[in-house]
Subunit: 171 residues, 2 copies
């Protein structure tokens, strides 16, 4: 798919078909996410790929606010966790405070665009109970972003944006 | 350009031709970055676009570590600043601690891919003196990422990555 079309097609999708995501597409997402940049090329993050329906339910139960509004059907969830320890080993507090979070965030940005290019829909979830998610995943790594993925079962309108003049300042 | 090719073509470029970036390309980057997702669609970030050679020099003087290794020629710098106050107004401490930084980081991820799709090279700079950069930009917003942009004057090899098995865990 053309690059610009992918960026324009990416919208938050919250209703999914029951159709599962093909393993080749999951592999393609991970293969291309692996090319994303990271601080010092350390890749201080880890992706947990959840397909188990019960586990998906447990994760959704720990998502907050309006982001609870998912249809029950969502075949796949990816959780992008910051590996603060890995980044701190080289970058000390800046690794903890910034880089590990950024590495996980960049990876989620890439995954969402790659998923769009493969005809998948997704929604970035930022509001969740970190400790509960860590317990479900049995990890010490800090969840920084959750991506809910599947074949779209809705076509929502594009949400409004700031004017470019508000977003950017030439200086 | 095909989406997958863009992701595969994106590499850190540190040497640039003197050729300036066409205004239409700068506009296109900003237009498409504006479509990036953000927490609650608040877009709690601002992009400072710097073309002034003296200002670019001042910014580079406040970049740390190995990231100093830029050729003097780099026609454009974009600085992605987190607007913590804007995010905090709705999301309190999570807005300050996470969302505003993520919004700026997602935007920089998009900008780098969009630039690649337009035939430009770029390098993400994460190591810099925040306060000095804020003073140069005359802003209270926190710089979260710097993107150095221009037409590439080098074709470095791809750097190694983790194995996908190290990066992701199926659970």
């Amino acid at each position: 798919m053309d690059f610009e079309t992918v960026v324009k097609n990416r919208k938050s999708i919250r209703k999914f078909q029951s159709k599962l995501i093909e393993p080749e597409k999951i592999d393609k997402i991970l293969e291309l996410v692996n090319l994303a940049p990271s601080a010092g090329n350390l890749q201080s993050y880890k992706i947990f790929v959840v397909e188990d329906k019960q586990k998906i339910g447990s994760i959704k139960a720990n998502v907050g606010g309006i982001q609870k509004n998912f249809s029950d059907l969502s075949p796949l969830i990816m959780i992008f966790c910051a590996n603060k320890e890995e980044s701190a080993a080289r970058y000390k507090t800046r690794g903890i405070r910034l880089y590990a979070i950024q590495d996980a965030t960049i990876a989620c940005s890439y995954a969402q665009l790659i998923a769009t290019s493969l005809g998948l829909g997704s929604c970035w979830v930022g509001s969740f109970k970190e400790k509960a998610i860590m317990k479900i995943l049995q990890t010490d790594l800090l969840p920084a972003a959750i991506l809910v993925l599947g074949y779209p079962d809705e076509a929502p309108p594009r949400r409004p944006r700031k004017l470019v003049e508000q977003l950017a300042e030439m200086t």
